[in-house]
Subunit: 181 residues, 2 copies
Amino acid sequence: MPRNRRPRQREEKREEIVSAARILFLERGYEEVSLARIASAAGVTSTTIYWYFTDKDELLVAVLDVVLAESLQRWTDLAELDLADKLVWVTAELKGMGRLVDTVHNRRLSSRAVDTWHENFHSMADALTRAELPADMPTTDAEAHCQIITFVVEGLLTHDHDPATARSIIDTLVQGIVRSQ
Amino acid sequence: MPRNRRPRQREEKREEIVSAARILFLERGYEEVSLARIASAAGVTSTTIYWYFTDKDELLVAVLDVVLAESLQRWTDLAELDLADKLVWVTAELKGMGRLVDTVHNRRLSSRAVDTWHENFHSMADALTRAELPADMPTTDAEAHCQIITFVVEGLLTHDHDPATARSIIDTLVQGIVRSQ
DNA sequence: ACCTGAACACCGTTCAAGT
DNA sequence: ACCTGAACACCGTTCAAGT
């Protein structure tokens, strides 16, 4: 089926570029890695990247999408844990991702694509967090707690502490929520 | 007194560069503003900036220092407010500063100077926050609450919400702390 | 001591040209 | 459709030269 082969190859080349970018972005940081460096790691020329992505920011979004999808998949296995354990898991799972968080916050102001991804990410994180809170919690309180949880997780990711401190911060946070009921 | 005149002029020129950089960094963002643009706003050549600062990051640090010093000065007038009101004031005072917060987090990974400033900032913010918590609060709890407060304030600064939502988030946060006693 | 203009190495991006 | 090499406009930074 020749109709299938081309799209397939295109998809593979695209994934090679994304996975090269992913490794380098996580290792050295978005602004530190040139498209030329990514291209050579993916076995193409830097201009070739523009055949697959409109610009560097859209390549970043593609990387964010795969990273998020993988984490989201693992999140599903956590159903039986309580809130504190889930939050500890998230900070551990996304450890070493602090650079990407900073980059998203930074590029969002210059790139529509990154800004949109960021907005979508937060609505998703919000919905996921909301589901962890007691169903009978008043909406206003729940929304505030969601924001606080998100901010604390982002803070933990971007400021890295040792696991014990992180655990203590999360416990304190969760106790405040539980006690509010 | 000719011994005084030169240092004075040097100080003035330096301040002109810093204040030009400050305006532009806040308006358009650090990475969006070239040294050439700052230089022309300050009435010099871009290479002249290197006579006063070793690189662009050190100019950023100089801007951060004056902005922080001014905010710190105003902070002193708040002695009689309670914690929630102080936090609301901080988020309002530093409104429009979100860009700088993102930039610091971003550049800290590439610049020793920015990283050091960031560390100092957090020890200072920590000490200031600690002083707002009840003196009889156990150290571990107090440290955790300090981190949570800092993360929430940073989150509010970098994700801007309308004042009412910010107020509600801060109230919820402070209630959790008060109830923990 | 202070400031400049020219130059350097690099960057993301564009484009005409190839297959 | 896909990929390239050459070129563009810009960037932070360096440096030899001026005052």
